[in-house]
Amino acid sequence: MSLAVDSLVKRFERFPALNGVSFTAPQGAFLALLGPSGSGKTTVLRILGGLEYPDAGSVRFADLNWLDVPARERRAGFVFQQYALFRHMTVAENIGFGLSVRPRRQRPPRAEIARRVEELLALVQLEGLGKRYPNQLSGGQRQRVALARALAIEPRMLLLDEPFGALDAKVRKELRGWLRALHERMGITTVFVTHDQEEAFALADLVAIMNAGRIEQYGTLEDVRRSPKTAFVAEFLETAPLKKADASRHRGDGHPG
């Protein structure tokens, strides 16, 4: 179930969003799309999730022509930047939504859905909050509900758009470590978008540095940091808050700097 993205091109009305984006990632990889805003990283993520369709290029995943699979059949768990929780549903209804909209034959019985929701609430450490509404939760709690909702459909791929962007620094660090641990436990191929290199380096195994609709450099954290291939990458990383630190020390521990 490796992921192979080949020469994606996407044009919006006024500007080109992607000018040929290619990369591959092995099954279970944790990949960060890192770049300034407007570099096309969210567009790549939305194409993987089936929310946009590229003008050219191909995506293969799980031995499927991924672009031919309709969004609702991809089972790509998408966590939106603003979480996009269903505001008129309780937390439990939010998490159970993906199971409850399955076709009748594949739909688990009500009790089974309730049990799975409880499991997921425990997994994201929100036990007892199932009856609350999203607007009664803190930002960090909403984030975890969004994640639990995406995990409920047993996703084949996890897609996160600026997952911690709206959270304060302390909560961000906690959730980061927690997400990394969760990924190691579940082994789902995960792609996440961020403009924060500290976050990218803290979480991901592989980093694609994007600029103006292209990938400037793609590789492991060590490679990218040790030998930036283009002037853009060098300059972009130069602004990193931990530029003088040793990259390997920060890998995956969730508490850089």
Partner: protein
């Protein structure tokens, strides 16, 4: 004695004066005429007023008005939802044009709206001969009245929903799709619950106007007593016949409908205030 005043509040006299003006205007231009309608209707007693309502032509007018609203309002609700959905959730060429067109009925004189239908479906109109061959009557019949009412009341639901749906964005729909929901499931379980208060409000306004519409319906109806007269048209006929009590009796039913609409709306807003706030908060 020093009195503290917040820097943003005006002099007490100013606010009192403004309040008095507002109350005065409301009393003179809104409450007084409304009260007059009921007073005139009851001038010769409740029995006489009731007799004016409980006679065949009046009953026919009430039936026709209710029937027209029953057809026009649900259809306009469906069209309004479709149009707002298309405008708020999709990008396409001509979107701006569609948005402008939706407002067209508000900017056209109702008389013109009625005449359009006479031109299209009337005997001398474009489809007049065809319709006659098929033995279908549109003008001076129920279909024409419904069409004219729908045209005039089309913007109410759409105008209420478009800003609401644009404000709510597409995120929740996209989330539902990525979780495996079909388009119909997404609509029923995500979109509709989020817009239900706006929809209800639009439907109430649409209904009030559908029952009260005079100009456009007057042109296409033909004023056949007991057959194609709606309540507002019936009021006019009675008034022109110097049957003032009858006219005001039927008018007071229309006025009552308007009051019920307003009360219903206020009750709903009060009863579901928490839920409305939750939906608007993001």
């Amino acid at each position: 004695m020093k009195r503290w005043r917040s820097p943003t509040s005006d002099h007490p006299l100013t606010s009192i004066a403004l309040a008095l003006i507002a109350v005065g205007v409301v009393a003179i231009f809104l409450v007084l005429p409304l009260a007059t309608v009921f007073a005139e209707a009851l001038r010769k007693g409740l029995d006489v007023a009731w007799a004016a309502i409980d006679e065949p032509d009046a009953r026919a007018a009430i039936r026709l008005t209710l029937l027209t609203a029953t057809i026009a309002v649900p259809l306009n609700a469906v069209f309004g939802i479709s149009a707002s959905w298309a405008i708020a959730k999709f990008d396409f060429r001509g979107k701006q044009l569609l948005t402008t067109l939706i407002d067209l009925p508000f900017s056209i004189s109702p008389v013109v709206s009625g005449l359009i239908y006479v031109l299209i479906f009337g005997l001398q109109g474009w489809f007049g001969q065809t319709l006659r061959d098929w033995d279908v009557k549109v003008i001076f019949a129920l279909p024409g009245i419904v069409l004219a009412t729908m045209f005039v009341t089309f913007p109410f639901v759409a105008r209420e929903l478009i800003p609401l749906m644009i404000d709510q964005g597409r995120d929740e729909e996209e989330a539902a799709t990525s979780l495996g929901a079909s388009g119909w499931q997404t609509f029923l379980r995500v979109t509709l619950p989020n817009i239900k208060w706006g929809l209800l409000y639009g439907v109430l306004l649409c209904n009030a106007r559908a029952m009260g519409e005079f100009g456009a319906v007057s042109v296409v109806s033909g004023h056949i007593r007991g057959l194609t007269n709606t309540m507002p048209l019936h009021v006019e006929v009675l008034y022109n016949d110097y049957q003032f009590v009858g006219a005001f009796a039927v008018a007071s039913i229309l006025a009552l409908l308007a009051i019920v609409t307003l009360v219903l709306k206020s009750v709903l807003e009060w009863r579901f205030a928490d839920e409305i706030a939750a939906v608007h908060q993001h």
